[in-house]
């Protein structure tokens, strides 16, 4: 009997990781390699008047904007961020120059002896600041993106509503904190630029470097080194490092290694966008939600980065798992003089789901009805329309998933026994429901990425997968090999996957947006089917497939109308928490989770993603605090920014309940990001439940709970006559 594809196999990258022989970027030593450190702005916003460097010893160099052969702008969605500051700096830590040389201690000394004269400009730190009173950082309105989304008729919903409920939610920064910090090594030989790096998106880096150098695309080669975690943090930032390092390599005519120190990485690289979300919902006498009017503000930091797309994902997720026919959403990504906010597992959706789930819970409490029942009564089902009017084509298993997770967690029984306790330690339960749209938002896959995957088979009938998607710990290599091996019906040992090198692999797109399995996996599957059809033993052959937008779907990017995603994965999480009513410290007693990911390609990798995502989510909801005061992060060393340790984690029990997706490989959909979205919400709800208070921001901290418990119960609820 043939094995089910979900049965775990040994990953190809495990042996070298266990032996400690895997080659991360820090392990790569090129001959004659020089080191670079970054001279950074110490002002949040200022004009650079002069920079006085100490005399450079022999073999030490300054590399700055004058050394960029092409454009001193990082190629991204909006052209606003330079590799090296021109005459203005916009955040503390913004790179001004590199100092390059053989000895890192000498480089550090040279940096500390450099004097920069600034002329301060009034900075903008908060998304509330009225930019009229100061000069905007970007454009006229100081927003990198301002969008509106409309579905149905909100004024009619308002008119018909019996109840109106309005809430405001806030979420904080979160740092990816991949254990391996960011780094690249650049070398330039005979007109060809090669970058090795800890990266998620080889072709993003390539396209950026091509523009930075102003050279032909075939003169740039990007090779991914074994990557020690990324979680979105190595999506766009490596382009900046790569451009800087290659400019340095050209200048000094030697390979240049640019690795960030931990604290430096923490302070200057991208983080999850802080958000403020206002939701007003209109509800009829039968407790059906007629409409929702929402406003989303994201703190984008000093440059545009990916904020526009993060904002879109947040806006499209704002109705959560609920069927709301009339919707109006306004979204803005606001410029502030702080490090650039960027991609982090979930990409705007954790913020939106936190807001809508907490809001639904709160509405029910105001209406004095059972929150879970109210939420279940308003839930999406097959055939309903999304916020952008796209149709949920596949069966939605939420009711079954909720029933199962309640059974697993012994929900009803616990709920009863937790009630009415006046012990010092109170228990509480929270349940979150969520989805994640798989692949790029909107027209990304169809119009921008247009991914290609290739398989080549050699005379020994070994098949190699050529894609630009990286293994960064999540198990992409094994997933792809399993798909090819099953589609070709050959042993997995005959299928190879190597870290991508842009000189060898086609552009299958970046390793982001939970797209690797569902989108690239399908390309690889289709290529395998093509190869199988023409298979000739002992002959070198290849097959290449380009992405086709699935039939029957449609999307208009101007009006944000249609199918924002072609597939959705779903999840339900329960968290059980115990809170001490004197110290307000909380302990997570258990987490239970059910996910619909279409089909598991490897149960072991799936479990790894689920456990890891849930714990990162708990960190986000419960303990990871990063505050910015006056443009400076308070938590800027690894000792100050606290992530979960083995001590903090509870027992996690998870199961799958899957509705296969016909367009996915073997029915699979996305998983990576989904796994993070639900746990912070279920945690916050559990704390609410334990203490009988309202929580409207994460991370939930003991000091905050103490404060809330004291001046509780602000009533935003109005009953119409």
């Amino acid at each position: 009997m043939k094995n089910d594809i979900s049965t775990p196999v040994k990953r190809e990258d495990v042996s070298e990781k266990l032996l400690g022989t895997a080659c991360y970027i820090g392990d790569l030593k090129l001959e004659d390699m020089m080191y670079a450190r970054t001279l950074r702005s110490t002002e949040p916003r200022a004009r650079l008047i002069s920079i006085k460097y100490p005399e450079m010893p022999l073999g030490y160099f300054v590399v700055d904007r004058k050394d960029v052969p092409g454009k001193n702008i990082i190629k991204m969605i909006i052209d606003d961020q330079p590799y090296f500051a021109e005459d203005i700096v916009n955040y503390i830590g913004e790179p001004i120059a590199l100092i390059v040389g053989k000895d890192k201690t000498i480089i550090n000394e040279l940096i500390s002896k450099t004097n920069i004269e600034y002329e301060k400009i009034k900075p903008i730190f908060s998304i509330d600041e009225r930019h009229e009173t100061t000069t905007p950082i970007y454009g006229d309105s100081n927003t990198f993106a301002a969008y509106r989304l409309k579905k149905g008729d909100i004024s009619e919903a308002r008119a018909k509503a019996r109840y109106i409920c309005e809430d405001i939610y806030e979420t904080g920064y979160q740092e990816q904190f991949y254990m391996e910090t960011q780094g690249v090594i650049a070398e330039y030989q005979e007109g060809k630029a090669t970058i090795y790096g800890s990266i998620q998106c080889p072709y993003y880096v390539k396209n950026a470097v091509v523009e930075c150098l102003g050279c032909a695309p075939d003169m740039v080669r990007i090779v991914q080194a074994t990557t020690g975690g990324a979680f979105g943090g190595k999506e766009d930032y490596p382009s900046l490092l790569a451009g800087q390092a290659i400019c340095a390599a050209i200048k000094v005519n030697k390979p240049v290694c640019l690795l960030l120190e931990r604290d430096e990485d923490l302070e200057v690289t991208t983080k999850r966008h802080p958000s403020r979300i206002k939701i007003k919902s209109f509800i009829d006498e039968n407790h059906k939600i007629l409409g929702m009017d929402a406003e989303i503000m994201l703190d984008a930091g000093a440059y545009a980065g990916l904020s526009g797309v993060v904002l879109q994902r947040a806006m499209f997720a704002i109705a959560g798992v609920y069927n709301i026919e009339n919707i109006k959403v306004k979204g803005r990504a606001i410029a502030t003089n702080k490090a650039v906010s960027g991609a982090f597992r979930g990409f705007g959706s954790p913020q939106a789901f936190f807001a809508i789930e907490m809001h639904m819970q709160n509405v029910a409490k105001k209406l004095r009805i059972d929150p879970l029942q109210f939420r279940l009564d308003n839930i999406l089902k097959q055939g309903d329309k999304s916020t952008t009017g796209g149709v949920f084509r596949d069966k939605i298993l939420l009711h079954e998933m909720v029933a199962r997770v309640m059974e697993m967690s012994n929900y009803a029984e616990k709920k009863r026994s937790f009630q009415g306790s006046d012990n010092q330690k109170r228990r509480g339960l929270g349940l979150s429901m969520f989805f994640h749209g798989c692949g790029f938002t909107g027209n990304g896959e169809r119009d921008h990425i247009k991914g290609k995957a290739r398989l080549i088979k050699n005379e020994e009938d070994i098949v190699e997968i050529l894609i630009a998607n990286v293994e960064m710990g999540q198990g992409a290599g094994t997933t792809m090999r399993k798909i090819v091996s099953a589609a070709l019906d050959i042993p997995i040992s005959r299928v190879m996957y190597r870290n991508p090198d842009t000189d060898r692999v086609p552009d299958s797109g970046p390793t982001v947006a939970s797209r690797t399995t569902v989108i690239v996996g399908k390309l690889v599957y289709d290529a395998a089917v093509e190869l199988k059809a023409k298979w000739q033993q002992g002959v070198q052959q290849q097959a290449e497939i380009e992405y086709q937008y699935p039939e029957g779907y449609q999307w208009d990017n101007e009006s944000f109308a249609g199918d924002a995603y072609t597939s959705y994965s779903w999840g339900v999480n329960v968290v059980d928490v115990e809170v001490d009513t004197i110290t307000y410290e909380s302990e997570i007693k258990g987490v239970w989770a059910v996910f619909d990911i279409g089909k598991s390609i490897d149960d072991r990798n799936v479990k790894g993603q689920i456990d890891g995502g849930i714990v990162q989510g708990l960190g986000y909801g419960a303990m990871e605090v990063m505050e910015n005061v006056g443009g400076r992060f308070k938590q800027r060393t690894s000792a100050d920014y606290i992530i979960p340790t083995a001590m903090d984690i509870p027992m996690i029990q998870s199961e799958l309940m899957c509705e296969p997706y016909t367009e996915g490989p073997f029915g699979a959909k996305g998983l990576g990001e989904l796994s993070l979205v639900g746990s912070p919400i279920a945690y916050a709800m559990a704390v609410e439940d334990a203490l009988g208070i309202r929580i409207n921001s994460i991370p939930v901290r003991p000091e905050f709970l103490m404060e809330v418990a004291e001046n509780d119960k602000r009533n935003h609820f109005k009953t119409k006559r």
């Binding site: 775990p8 040994k10 990953r11 990258d13 495990v14 070298e16 990781k17 266990l18 032996l19 400690g20 022989t21 895997a22 991360y24 820090g26 392990d27 990816q176 904190f177 991949y178 254990m179 391996e180 910090t181 074994t226 990557t227 020690g228 975690g229 990324a230 979680f231 120190e261 931990r262 604290d263 960064m472 710990g473 999540q474 198990g475 072991r604 990798n605 479990k607 790894g608 456990d611 890891g612 995502g613 849930i614 714990v615 990162q616 060393t637 690894s638 000792a639 992530i643 979960p644 340790t645 083995a646 001590m647 984690i649 996690i652």
Partner: protein
């Protein structure tokens, strides 16, 4: 200055700079299995064993290992293979950056603690951070590993 120590049971005598950390010295000697992340003893990535006990090599002066035994993952291959296999089965090896440090800490724990309960295990591991796995896989693997040879 010169120090004499043993690394993975082979004697070594090397010239060091008194301000150098053990991590720097090991790195120079080519022990690339020892990684560094924070450099401030707050993550456990750079863990090596000093006379069998885990220490953060990034913040340990090399001068202090004179006359002591240092063990890296290269020196406990048999044990690492056994434990590594269990870790792999539980999906506890993802990006792998924390893996050598984790393996060494667990191997030391098995020698040091007799029949630890889950809380003691977690306590022992508190200095080793992992951002990928949520520790669940590691803990499952450890429970199996502690059974081996009992």
């Amino acid at each position: 200055m010169k120090i004499n120590f043993s690394i993975n049971n082979s004697a070594k005598s090397i010239e060091i700079n008194p301000s150098e950390t053990l991590y720097e010295v090991l790195n120079k000697c080519g022990f690339s299995s020892v990684k560094k992340a924070c450099g401030t003893s707050s993550c456990g990535i750079c863990t090596v064993l000093l006379d069998g006990k885990p220490i953060p090599s990034c913040s340990y002066l090399a001068a202090k290992v004179d006359q002591h035994n240092i063990t890296t993952i290269e020196g406990v291959q048999q044990e690492a293979e056994l434990l590594g296999d269990l870790m792999n089965r539980e999906g506890a090896v993802q990006c792998g950056f924390c893996t050598p440090g984790f393996l060494l800490t667990i191997i030391a724990m098995k020698k040091e603690l007799v029949n630890p309960d889950i809380q003691q295990i977690k306590n022992y591991l508190v200095g080793n951070l992992c951002r990928c796995t949520g520790y669940e896989g590691q803990l499952r693997a450890i429970r199996r590993y502690m059974e081996v040879g009992r």
